[in-house]
């Protein structure tokens, strides 16, 4: 629990300064990188810096989402800002931020403090799904409650921020619950591949073995700006998956922008993965890494040849790659908090839970209305949407 020495000030910084600051940190959400601002090109973006005296001590990517027909914005800091959350003086950080955003035309602020509040082991989640009395993660006592996260939550309430509730399915914004495989042990020492494999359930281990036996080949695709073939191959399979699983696919251009922006920022930021069987593409994924945090971001799989277990093979390859690159966390991203075995989302959790690891609850997304009338109108619009 630290507190800033003097009053902090907030001002716009260049994307270069922003990136340089992030490089001084062990990791940050990829949604807080300057490159992500380029991916979300439909919104005005700004890199913010916190200064303690002359020293840059915090940074954020702000996306300004415009209200229809008005020059007023929701300032959105997805999975950010990147500040010292382990403080009892959160207002010293947030007050100058909100003053700045208000000056920029924001009628409200939405952010997702990157702080963990609770964790559950894979075994607990599995038991929870089997127990009909348990319907949500919150019905289970966590293996760990994070005091820093709790202090952030308490202070946000105190400062008038409003939690955006994520009842049931996925929230409109970033997921509050994610599934992560820790790649270091309790002392911070890297885990071995054998250890990570041992943490998986039998089905996962069997599927990984089966994929190898069937001769599934996993390769890293090219992200070279001149050769778009690999990205197109990914996208084709992704559109196929979307049709099968009934979700709306993003256009190829979105992934082009993402590939270019993330790769230009850091060649290790973005990686395309392919699993092929006898030359047929059976699974393809996108992995993203910032510092010691590695994400499984997008995935696609063929409907044919499911029995060769390309998805398991490509996941295992990504995990091994994350381990090799020194990552501390392999993040499978969002899960819902439902443990109801009748819920359609539970299959996704079960797939992720098979990797071992833990369900992680973050503080979630919080709003601060700056203009009550506009915020209320926006809130109503979002609810009716």
């Amino acid at each position: 629990m630290t507190s800033p020495g003097s009053a902090l000030s907030v001002r716009e910084i260049s994307p270069e300064e922003h990136l340089a600051f992030l490089r001084t940190r062990p990791s940050a959400s990829f949604l807080q990188t300057p490159a992500w601002g380029q991916v979300k090109a439909e919104w005005r973006r700004e890199s913010l810096g916190w200064y303690d005296g002359g020293q840059l001590v915090g940074a954020a990517l702000v996306l300004y989402r415009q209200l229809p027909r008005l020059k007023r914005y929701l300032a959105y800091l997805p999975e950010g800002p990147v500040i010292d959350w382990d403080t009892e003086q959160l207002s010293a950080w947030l007050t100058p931020m909100t003053a700045h955003l208000k000056k920029q035309g924001a009628f409200g602020v939405r952010m997702g403090p990157p702080v963990v509040t609770r964790r559950w082991t894979a075994a607990q989640v599995k038991e929870g799904i089997a127990d009909p009395a348990v319907r949500r993660l919150g019905d289970l006592p966590p293996t760990e409650r994070d005091a820093t996260g709790a202090r952030v939550v308490a202070q946000l309430h105190e400062l008038g921020w409003r939690p955006q509730v994520t009842e049931g399915g996925f929230a409109a914004g970033q997921p509050q619950y994610v599934f992560q495989v820790p790649l270091v042990d309790a002392d911070g020492a890297p885990r071995t591949e054998e250890d990570v494999l041992k943490g998986m359930n039998q089905l996962w281990r069997r599927n990984i073995k089966k994929a190898a036996k069937e001769g599934v080949e996993v390769t890293v695709g090219s992200t070279d700006a001149d050769s778009k073939d690999d990205l197109e191959a990914f996208h084709e399979l992704y559109v196929h998956t979307a049709r099968r699983d009934h979700f709306t696919p993003r256009p190829l251009s979105y992934f082009r922008t993402m590939t270019d922006a993330l790769t230009n920022e850091d060649p290790d930021r973005f990686r395309l993965w392919f699993a092929r069987h006898d030359g047929d593409l059976v699974a393809a994924t996108i992995a993203v890494r910032v510092g010691t945090h590695s994400w499984y971001s997008y995935g696609a799989s063929s409907t044919e040849k499911r029995e060769v277990r390309g998805s398991n093979a490509v996941q295992w390859a990504m995990m091994r790659d994350a381990l090799a690159s020194g990552a501390h966390v392999y993040d499978l991203r969002g899960i819902t908090d439902t443990l109801d075995s009748d819920d359609s989302h539970v299959g996704l959790i079960q797939f992720k839970v098979g990797t071992g690891g833990e369900a992680v609850e973050y503080a979630g997304e919080w709003d601060l209305p700056l203009n009550r009338a506009l915020y209320a109108a926006f809130d109503l619009y979002m609810k009716r949407r």
Partner: protein, 352 residues
């Protein structure tokens, strides 16, 4: 010639047992007038229930329970560096669990008695006593840095009576408890419904939840309790006859009944019920109206009908007016009395 509380013992005890069984970690509360039963009787009953801790309201109440219950004694009123808290029997020191609600008191108590046992009360929307979230964090730091050996027995939450669900408040309060990083996993709570308690226990199964229950425990089986007064005298009066301390005159012919039970018992000294319904407020207004013309509805009922006070209650007896018509009870007969148990002192408590 007494105001008597008659308790259907088997029924009452079965209820007490049932509450204890469905509320693991139960801490019975015995305070004030002992909910009508007296503190001593409740202390013995708590011992009979086999609980490990009994809660009392104030330090002054400790002598009433200490010799009848030999477990831990939680004092609900926060400790202050003055008054009765400093005058407790030294032989009880190891059994008393103090409630602390201010950082200064925490330091002060531990300076006086480093091995004092205590709980930290987190202020709730009651706004009565307790630490704010930040004060609780500060207290946690203080304990960690300066009193690492202090005997912290848990966190206390005193919630307001239910008005909608408590759970969102409890959630926030529990979050503050997690944030404080205190070396305890025990939370003492009051006034949660059984459903709320079950929910709290489920999501905080890693905490030891100790429900403090008074009213719901002792007075939860109302049909096991009966309050009666004795008819001490009956006088026939004609319209215009004078009677009583204030020489009122009878409004019409009928009978004056003198029954046991007066202001010394709490009869006629009704505390506001806190019932906010329109109906309850209208009833209060109506009673006030009767008062203005000299007729107040009494809590005594004869053959199921509540009767009017003939004049304000005396210290140990009350005079009722019974107009002609209904049956006139005989001297020595028992009549029913409706009382607020927490505001009534009975002459006798008879437990079968």
């Amino acid at each position: 010639m007494s105001l008597t509380l008659t308790v259907d013992g088997p029924r009452w005890r079965a209820h007490l047992r049932a509450v204890a069984e469905t509320h693991p970690g139960l801490v019975p509360v015995a305070k004030g007038n002992g909910y009508g039963f007296t503190l001593g009787r409740l202390a013995r009953k708590a011992a009979w229930l086999g609980v490990d801790t009994l809660a009392v309201g104030t330090y002054d109440e400790l002598p009433h329970v200490a010799s009848r219950f030999d477990g831990d004694l939680l004092v609900l009123t926060p400790w202050r560096p003055f008054g009765a808290a400093l005058e407790t029997d030294p032989s009880l020191a190891h059994r008393i669990v103090h409630t602390l609600g201010r950082t200064d008191d925490l330091t002060d108590l531990l300076d006086r008695q480093p091995d004092a046992r205590f709980v930290l009360e987190r202020m709730t929307s009651m706004q009565r006593h307790g630490f704010s979230a930040r004060e609780l964090w500060a207290a946690a730091r203080l304990l960690h840095d300066r009193h690492p050996g202090a005997r912290l027995e848990g966190i206390a939450l005193h919630l307001p009576l239910e008005q909608g669900s408590h759970l969102s408040e409890v959630d926030r309060l529990m979050n503050d408890v997690v944030a404080a990083e205190l070396p305890t996993r025990t939370v003492w709570v009051s006034h949660l419904t059984d459903a709320e308690l079950a929910q709290l226990r489920a999501s905080y199964a890693d905490y030891d939840i100790r429900p403090r229950i008074g009213t719901g425990l002792w007075l939860g089986a109302r049909d096991a309790l009966q309050v009666t007064a004795t008819v001490l005298d009956v006088h026939e009066v004609e319209r215009g006859d004078a009677f009583g301390y204030r020489s009122r005159t009878a409004p019409k012919s009928g009978h004056l009944l003198v029954v046991s039970g007066g202001t010394a018992h709490g009869i006629g000294l009704e505390a506001p019920t806190g019932d906010q319904s329109i109906r309850a407020r209208a009833a209060t207004l109506a009673r006030g109206g009767l008062d203005a013309v000299g007729f107040v509805r009494s809590p005594f009922s004869i053959d199921g009908k509540q009767r009017l006070f003939a004049e304000p209650p005396h210290m140990q007896a009350s005079m009722l007016f019974l107009p002609h018509g209904p049956r006139v009870p005989e001297v020595g007969e028992q009549v029913q009395v409706r009382v607020r148990y927490t505001a009534t002192t009975f002459d006798r408590v008879v437990v079968s």
